[in-house]
Point group: C2
Chain length 219, copies 2
């Protein structure tokens, strides 16, 4: 990240991200950038959230993947607006991709915009997408050491969803150890232990979302 | 990947990777670059392999991580030589990191060098580390759609380890579907369904390794 052209790319991205953030704020849209390893459950968390809160909020989703529109189809099945961005092998979303994708949405009629990033614990963290908050997802089968080994995401996130709690009986995963690593990096970060399969813990996540929407609208 | 400086970085990396490959071939060292999402079980596979084959082969490991030397300590506990490379937030290993790391090994006395890449399904694929073969790991809880969504790794790998088979009863994962996506991309790729926890399927992987070492030594 210390060669000049990379710095320029990051600076250009940040400039556009700031413009997006202004646009989103003008419309009081809460924007969340969901980041995790592949298969940690970002799409499953969105499917549950979009279905369970559809009578409370108007929500839209930008889905990022290297290939396929599988995830956009999954979340659109809940009735939410969804746009797929294929990076064609690229390892993260950036603000110009978000800029293009949101042309499909009516921001004035949107309460929450979810950005589901490419599955990757490293690169998406460096590329601001104009979000209010980054949300880190970690799934139980990945191991409790991941916040320690991939610290930057956990440092920069405003909440952490610790998903697939239904698999805790079958793997060696110490919830307290994972929480300790994460809060060592980011001491006030709320952590929600969830299972998108059983529904465990989702209410805490929903309450956090409700509070974040209220805060955004009162600004 | 289409801006000139990135192309130059890739070209410089490939040049050094070719030099490393020559060096490894001179010493008949089989070099395998293990790539997967974070937490798919690369280190666990190495722990089993290093312990189970220690009377057959002399093995060394370069461990890549953003932070910590946890993995090098885990594999060194088997008695193998191990060097940790911390990328300090970087998303992949490259050939100059391998070049520096192998100064710690006696290549003439090494049969297999394992390179455990940073946990990431995207970026490590682009950076040749001088290996003979890339090995793709996918773990059952990540979902059977990952070869379709992150195709480049599966296209470029010479074998695939489908790990954590012990979790199949607890998740929605269709082994045939995952295999179909993977072999659609790479039709002759051998796939080993394994559990590093129970030992299931490891013999097939070991037989593949034995054949690869024999082939390397007879070249």
């Amino acid at each position: 990240m210390d060669i000049p052209v990379v710095r320029n790319i990051l600076e250009a991205n940040e400039k556009m991200a700031d413009q997006l953030r202004e646009l989103f704020s003008r419309h009081a849209v809460l924007v969340l950038n969901l980041i995790s390893s592949p298969g940690a459950g970002k799409t499953s968390l969105l499917e549950r959230t979009l279905a369970d809160l559809k009578n409370e909020f108007s929500m839209a989703v930008v889905e990022g993947d290297c290939q396929t529109d599988n995830d956009a189809r999954r979340v659109a099945a809940t009735g939410a607006k969804a746009v797929q961005v294929n990076t064609d092998g690229g390892c993260h979303l950036n603000s110009s991709m978000i800029q293009a994708a949101i042309q499909n949405f009516d921001l004035a009629a949107t309460d929450i915009l979810f950005v589901e990033n490419v599955g990757n614990l490293v690169c998406p963290v460096e590329f601001d997408c104009g979000e209010d908050f980054k949300i880190a997802l970690l799934s139980v089968p990945e191991g409790d050491d991941k916040p320690e080994k991939y610290p930057v995401l956990f440092e920069k996130s405003s909440a952490m969803v610790l998903n697939k709690s239904d698999l805790l009986p079958y793997v060696d995963f110490d919830v307290d150890r994972a929480k300790k690593f994460a809060t060592h990096l980011n001491k006030d970060m709320p952590i929600f232990l969830t299972s998108c399969r059983t529904g465990e813990g989702l209410e805490g996540w929903y309450d956090w979302l409700r509070a974040a929407v209220r805060a955004k609208k009162s600004r």
